[in-house]
Amino acid sequence: MSESRTDYRRIARDGLWDNNVVFAQLLALCPLLAVTNTATNGLGLGLATLAVLLAANLAVSLLRDIITPQVRIAVFVLLIAAIVTLVDMMMNAWLHDLHKVLGLFIPLIVSNCAILGRAESFASRQPIPAAVADGLFMGLGFIIALVALGGAREILGQGTLFADAAMLLGESFRFMELTLIPDYRGFLLMALPPGGFLMMGFLLAGKRLLDRRAAQLATQEAGA
């Protein structure tokens, strides 16, 4: 990699939209589809994944000159596993209720291909500030995807948004718990796994539609 000035705007744009973990790279779909039956669950897993991504990118970037290429994947996996174990234990200690809900999916962050992917393709070749920025924005992009999917499924499935947010963020965030459709009978399908796949498909289609509109506008401006 060239040692030219790091383009943080590019990193931010890639992480949040252009190269979004979920909507562009289609990685990490397993935890995404499994936990996003409510926006709160999505946010919880998203925050945990963000923490792991940040720490993993930092660690990999720090050690990038020591790790020999032959063993790099094994080392990355070990690093990520250690970090995930820490996050898992911390959540169990301080966010016990949410930890019970998200259960299996916290340890499974180890196998989240997005984290290994960022370590391999970005952090292991970049200086520390760029790697941390990449971890931050990739993690934020993942949170956006999780909350969007979880929110859409929660609204359609049970008519609420951010139910039980206080459990995740503390009592002061109880104002986030909205009931958008009162006396809603619920559309069970959306809370069940098929709903995750269906809503994911619609969100992907929506993103492509927006991208296409943007490209059209860009060409029109260029032509004008």
């Binding site: 559309f187 069970l188 399908l189 959306m190 069940l192 098929p194 269906l198 498909g201």
Partner: protein, 374 residues
């Protein structure tokens, strides 16, 4: 003599456009549907109309979003037929929003998302039926006992609007609307309670009623006789092949008879299975959908036998009393695999793909015989 135009005869004169076929299938469905409307009264008619209208609207919306022409696809009748078949598989007094959500799901997610007519992997009507069953288990398992039009207890037209749009059954003729279990529901519940089949079966199943359709069930699936007639008409007109209905019904009959002989107290006989639930409708009108079924005749036999076996397994050991929709979807998913292994013979080639040697074999003998005869 003017030699322009096609010369070699014979020419087929049958109109085989999509809309003509759809019209024929719709005609074949009509007797059973009308019987359903008569049997369950005005709410059933509301359901048919709402579902079909919603399906057409969804088709127009899908075509518009995809940037494809709208009118040709509405006119081909496929959306109308999908909506109609979906309505026939719903409980006859289902509320309007069940019909609308089902039709939207069938057309948009079941068909348009895949690219429109002919592109879908799964039967749209069955997909919607399963989605509704999972999303609204209560509405989808609330059956009414037959209350034929103009009979004493039947709801009038105004009451029917109330049933369809408000959802609470009003007092009809002084009594609450009578609910009734389907044959398969009843058998499943009684067996779960530990009752003996031979004792309780007559409470739920009378062969004559089941044949005609005088029982609780989905709007258009109860009358085995009328569905059979419609199906035979379609086979006669050549719109469907006999392989799928025969293999489907045959497999169910075979399995049911085998298990019934093994233990008559636990397993219902073949008649119960053939004449109840959605089996007849599926065998002639749903499994035969050319889009989701294999191309070759042998493949169709495998496909239909698979559906039959799955229906029997789900009905007998599964969590749901009826498994036709699940079975059709599962075998729809297997269709690409079947088509991969069981391919139709290419015209002019033997089943192994080698060109036919016209100087040897059956073809040559026939040719020789023909020439010898001249």
């Amino acid at each position: 003599m003017n030699n322009a135009g096609p010369l070699a005869s014979p020419h087929t004169r049958q109109s085989s456009s999509v809309s003509a076929i759809m019209l024929q299938v719709w005609l074949a469905l009509l007797p059973a549907s009308l019987f359903g409307v008569w049997l369950y009264g005005w709410p059933a008619l509301n359901l048919l109309l709402i579902t079909t209208a919603a399906a057409l609207a969804a088709e127009a919306l899908g075509q518009r979003l995809a940037g494809r022409p709208i009118m040709p696809s509405l006119k081909d009748g496929s959306a109308l037929l999908t909506g109609w078949i979906l309505a026939m598989t719903l409980p006859p007094w289902a509320p309007w929003w069940v019909a609308v959500i089902g039709a939207l799901f069938a057309i948009i997610i079941g068909k348009q998302v895949f690219g429109g007519l002919g592109q879908n992997l799964f039967n749209p009507a069955m997909l919607a039926r399963v989605a509704l069953l999972i999303a609204f288990p209560l509405e989808l398992t609330t059956w009414v006992a037959p209350q034929p039009l103009f009979s004493a207890n039947a709801p009038g037209f105004i009451d029917s609007l109330h049933i369809t749009f408000v959802g609470v059954a009003p007092l009809v003729g002084g009594v609450d609307a009578i609910s009734g279990a389907t044959v398969l529901d009843g058998i499943k519940t009684e067996l779960a309670r530990g009752a003996e089949l031979g004792v309780v079966l007559p409470d739920y199943y009378r062969a004559g009623d089941a044949m005609l359709g005088q029982m609780g069930g989905s709007l258009g699936e109860t009358s085995a006789l009328l569905l059979l007639l419609g199906g035979l008409y379609l086979i006669w007109r050549g719109h469907i092949t006999w392989q799928i209905p025969a293999a489907l019904l045959g497999t169910v009959a075979l399995l049911a008879t085998g298990f019934h002989l093994y233990d008559p107290l636990r397993f219902a006989h073949a008649g119960v299975h053939l004449l109840s639930g959605g089996l007849m409708l599926a065998a002639f009108f749903i499994a035969t959908d050319p889009v989701g079924s294999p191309a070759s005749r042998r493949g169709q036999l495998i496909f239909a036998a698979g559906i039959g076996a799955l229906v029997y397994i789900i009905r007998t050991w599964g969590g749901f009393p009826e498994g036709v929709a699940f079975a059709v979807l599962l075998m729809n998913a297997a269709t690409p695999l079947i088509d991969h292994y069981v391919r139709p013979r290419v015209y002019g080639r033997d089943p192994h793909g080698k060109p036919l040697d016209y100087q040897r074999g059956r073809f040559a003998r026939r040719l020789k015989k023909q020439q010898g005869g001249e």
